[in-house]
């Protein structure tokens, strides 16, 4: 390599230019089967307006951006520390106030009120539906996965299975599947709620007991493998699950007590309130759990499993517990989805879905309940906005490119997430300073 290429500043510029070229590709037009190179040539050659002034090829615009961003980075490198200190001294007092218990409860209460009033302000049917199907349901799923990944430190790539159990359980007890329901009674989806949650938790125990003995990376793969096996069965057992067509017969919730008859239709608002109520329930339950001895034991196992075991903590028991508790909220999410859309179908329950939920948890902050909620709301709102008013050249599937990049970016720059859990942040700090036993997979060689 020539010496001038090894110059640090130049190296930085080239890395940045490379990164910008990738950005250009990601945001550019798609290619297709007939013209697979169209994406490349279009990404660099297509004419765009240069800051609203005159049309130029995209490559010119991106070169300009590269130079500007390089300039900003250089500025940040020379003055960034001062800026950061300044901001920190400004936010120190608000931060201290925000950490007070009473303030936290106040904020939580305000959020609940806002959440309850939201359907009055959001009247666009697209957004009303999105609020239930794409946001509230995802909040539930993120809350559940946060217990598994965040609290217990278990990377579960088959989390979607519990969501599927909830949805299929609903279809089953309401008589929508080829498999006849118990005693032939077609239940109202309301009664499916406890059954689905119970079955999801049971699935957590059944799946967790054999697999959770494995260490981190093997667990991730085995959950992925299990997820695929379950998917293949659901997709092919036509006589039980309806196969790849699934079922479109799941009834809506309905109230039928004496003279009171009221069937929830497709209108999303009632589902929204039901889901919101359960979100609040799960948030309260999970945060109580976090600060109970169960939560402390999870922290202990996450930090140093050997030491925890020497104190009489049974790691397997607590891990299975995390799996099962996390499954509960996913099971409920399955009920809502099935009952609102009338529909269960295996094509939803893929490994990719599990990874999407993982992104919400990582982005919000592993181990932080507020983080799971914020992560789900922010990412899902943005993705819905992109579907509602897509920028030029944007296809819905492009979202996954961004989500993948987000995972890497978070791990590099902010591994503890947007709203970090304090314990988690400390642990990552300890691991990075070479203390603690969290990174034993990397270095440990215990026989």
């Amino acid at each position: 390599m020539p010496r001038w290429l090894k110059h640090k500043a130049l190296g930085r510029f080239f890395s940045l230019a490379l990164a910008m070229a990738v950005v250009e590709l990601v945001t550019g037009p798609p290619g297709s089967n007939e013209t697979p190179t169209a994406g490349f040539s279009g990404s660099f050659g297509e004419k765009v307006s240069f800051f609203g002034l005159f049309p130029v090829p995209r490559i010119v615009q991106f070169l300009a951006f590269t130079v500007i961003i390089y300039f900003l980075i250089s500025l940040w490198r020379s003055y960034g520390d001062r800026l950061r200190d300044g901001v920190r001294s400004l936010t120190e007092r608000p931060r201290a106030v925000a950490n007070k218990g009473s303030v936290r409860w106040g904020v939580a209460a305000a959020l609940v009120v806002i959440g309850a009033l939201l359907p009055r302000f959001v009247t666009d049917p697209f957004w009303q539906t999105a609020m239930v199907e794409q946001i509230a349901v995802y909040v539930l799923l993120a809350l559940g996965l946060n217990v598994v990944v965040g609290f217990a430190g278990l990377l579960d790539l088959g989390f979607v299975a519990f969501y599927a159990v909830g949805a299929y359980a609903t279809a089953w007890v309401t008589g929508a599947l080829p498999l006849p329901p118990l005693f032939g009674v077609h239940l109202n989806p309301f009664f499916a709620i406890p059954i689905a949650i119970f079955l999801a938790m049971l699935a957590g125990v059944l799946l967790g007991t054999p697999t959770l003995r494995l260490r981190g990376d093997y667990l991730a793969i085995v959950t992925l493998g299990f997820g695929e096996i379950i998917f293949l069965f659901v997709d092919n057992l036509n006589g039980i699950t309806g196969g790849s067509a699934g079922s479109g017969q799941v009834p809506h919730f309905s109230v039928d007590v004496g003279p009171l008859k009221y069937v929830w239709g497709l209108a999303p608002v009632p589902y929204y309130y039901l889901t919101l109520a359960f979100v609040i329930l799960f948030v309260v339950a999970f945060s109580l759990l976090e600060h109970s001895r169960v939560g402390r034991s999870w922290t202990a196992i996450r930090e140093d499993e050997v030491a925890a075991e020497s104190l009489g903590i049974n790691p397997l028991k607590y891990k299975v517990m995390a799996f099962s508790i996390g499954a509960a909220s996913a099971g409920f999410a399955g009920v809502v989805t099935a009952a609102q859309t009338n529909f269960v179908n295996p094509s939803v329950f893929t490994i990719y879905f599990s990874i999407n939920i993982l992104v919400l948890v990582i982005f919000g902050g592993m181990g932080s309940i507020a983080g799971a909620v914020v992560g789900a709301v922010v990412i899902q709102t943005v993705s819905m906005y992109l579907i509602h008013t897509p920028p030029a050249g944007y296809q819905p599937q492009d979202l996954y490119i961004y989500l993948g990049a987000l995972l890497i970016i978070m791990m590099i720059f902010r591994p503890s997430g947007l709203v970090p859990s304090k314990r988690r942040q400390r642990e990552i700090g300890l691991a990075e300073s070479g203390q603690g036993h969290m990174d034993e997979v990397l270095t440990g060689d215990v026989p």
């Binding site: 402390r296 925890a308 020497s310 300890l430 603690g436």
Partner: protein, 267 residues
Amino acid sequence: MIDELIFNVENITLRFGGVVSLNNVSLEMRRGEILAVIGPNGAGKTSLFNSLTGVYQPQEGRITLSAKSGRSVSVIGMKAHRVSSLGVARTFQASRIFGALTTFENVKIGAESHRGIGIAGAMVRGPRTRHGERESDELAVDLLDFVGLRSKANLLASSLSYGDRRRLEIARALATRPQVLLLDEPAAGTNPSEKLELTELIRKVRDERGVSILLIEHDMKLVMALAERLYVLNFGSVIAEGTPEEIRANEAVIEAYLGAASTAGDS
């Protein structure tokens, strides 16, 4: 009663692949004593500890533990957390505290680990849970007092000095209400004054808490000052057993261990 055995280790052999880590080791530990296991590096001391606490499973031999209830149980094949619940607590060679938790929380985890868990109880916090929690809190505070860390109860454990971490580990182990405490090189990495305090503390654990002590140590001064009986390991085998005076006079030990230690330097 004083001669009752807590641990009865009979002819255990532990192998990793082709490497023999413990070779036909037998050891008896009496209730109420301070027993030490010494030996040069790699002699198998930590392997012995790990076998006693259920971390390793020796391929041959028997380890019998007389549980808190008075019943005799076989340790081999038992998981570490089960062994702990039978009244065996331990510390680690490189201290393994939970750095992201406070000193107090570290001890509390030890105090509450043996109580039955209910998810519902943990969330709803009924009177029983609250009562149990209060008990654990009291025990934790009491133990922090005992080891002299009460003033640091709310500090992050990772901010403690090396000597304090050692104390914290002892407090955390005691919180599981053990009948025997296994200490893996408690004085490693501490300075002379800390060492002295630790010696005091260990004796106090036995005298005031009635916990028997099994100790692995490199530091001969500390061992000779504390232990009432010693076993000497070399290359995975027991080469001598006796009181400190007997061990000091033992030719084989001087040859195998003290000679090696004096050249390797005391830690």
